[in-house]
Amino acid sequence: MAEANRVFEIEIITPDRVFYTGEADFLEFTTADGDVGIYKDHIPLTTVLAPGIVTIHNGDEVKQAAVHAGFAEILGDKVILLAELAEWPNEIDVERAEAAKARAEERLANHTADTDIVRAEFALRKALIRIDAARLK
């Protein structure tokens, strides 16, 4: 079990639902500047999320979820992740993600002047994160 004084609150909120509320003693996620790990009493920080996997550690219990775009507000004893989309590994449709990955790769490989490269790259990244997350099941 986690020591009581190292535990902080976590809320992951998406537009459709309150995705997760609970406690943790260590939290990992990906920001626009790279991966970060948060312990209790982190300095107050607001940062932009990049598509990635959020890992919630609470003692021996580890939970992971895929999160796409949004931002995080970190206060000493509370972390709020506002994500546009969040999914548990068992909610991900791997076949759909694979198809999306293939589509995005094809678009990037044969791009023309009209291709929206930024969008295709974003779609590819999203698909890759989904596939990664689904493997964690």
Binding site: I13, T14, P15, D16, R17, V18, T31, A32, D33, I43, P44, L45, T46, T47, V48, G70, F71, E73, L75, I80, L82, E84, L85
Partner: protein
């Protein structure tokens, strides 16, 4: 006095209308329940979004950012959220009235319509419809809201419009919905909220300006999505009420007509009797 047959026919026609309105009421009650749950589920997201944006703005009051100041263009983009179907009482016309009631020059307004009824009504009044995305009203998702939002934001960033407004129906509770017109951009936050969140020293990564760059479009999108979901709930609530009163009006008319019908029936029996007695008297 109308004949018995006429009254009967009218009664039948009203009662079949009543069956329809009753069924529509039931359908919108079910839809309202669903929409209401959804509207409530979006609330926490919006709440934190608003809090974060106001606390960023509180700490960076002197920040000049394109999203915080009105553009040079005098044009206004107005996103109008109405329904695709009618028979919802004053739901659609109330939203349209909000737009027409403002003291704006028609030339200066670009309408981004979501919902066919509002688009039709405003086009008829001579407003310019810049975009019509009515199909998303059927089942609004966050990505729909984001796509629409992107179009309006692009127009703002390119300087085509100087201000962005949103006209929709706020869902207070099942029986009360209020049409509202809010300003999306430039961002306006209540002074009170600005002072509230300023006691913690917050850091931003990347810096405040870039964080604002990322967060404000998300903030606008969340407002947008919240408005869409609330509008769907309000639409069904309004339709439920309209259909409920239509059903009870039909009920009233039917009881009135039943009374008339019975009177006519009694009258015709009396008349028949009088005729028979008069005939019998004439013979004897």
């Amino acid at each position: 006095m109308a004949s018995m047959r006429d009254i009967k026919r009218r009664k039948q026609s009203i009662s079949s209308t009543q069956q329809i309105t009753k069924a529509m009421k039931l359908v919108s009650t079910v839809k309202l329940q669903k929409a209401k749950t959804r509207a409530e589920a979006t609330d926490p997201y919006f709440h934190y979004m608003y809090k974060t944006v106001s606390s960023i703005l509180a700490k960076s009051k002197n920040l000049s950012h394109p999203f915080l100041t009105a553009g040079e263009s005098t044009k206004k983009a107005v996103v109008v959220i109405t329904s695709n179907r009618g028979l919802a009482g004053g739901y659609n016309s109330n939203v349209v009235k909000l737009v027409t009631g403002e003291d704006w020059d028609k030339e200066d307004v670009d309408i981004y319509a979501i919902g066919g009824k509002g688009a039709e009504a405003l086009a008829h009044r001579g407003y310019h419809i810049a975009d019509n995305a009515s199909e998303i009203m059927e089942n609004p998702t966050y990505s729909d809201a984001a796509a629409m939002c992107q179009k309006v934001l692009d127009a703002f960033v390119n300087g085509e419009v100087g201000e962005i407004y949103l006209a929709y129906t706020h869902f207070k509770n099942t029986v009360s919905h209020e049409p509202e017109l809010i300003k999306l951009l430039p961002v306006e936050i209540d002074e009170e909220d600005l002072n509230e969140g300023s006691d913690i020293l917050m850091n931003y990564e990347p810096n405040e300006e870039e964080a604002l760059n990322m967060i404000i479009p998300k903030y606008v999108t969340s407002l947008f999505y919240g408005a869409l979901v609330e509008a769907v709930a309000s639409e069904n609530g309004a339709r439920m009420q309209a259909m409920d009163s239509a059903t009870s009006n039909a009920e009233e008319m039917i009881s009135d007509l039943t009374l008339k019908y019975n009177r006519a029936r009694q009258g015709s029996i009396t008349q028949e009797l009088t005729e028979i007695i008069a005939g019998a008297n004439a013979i004897s």
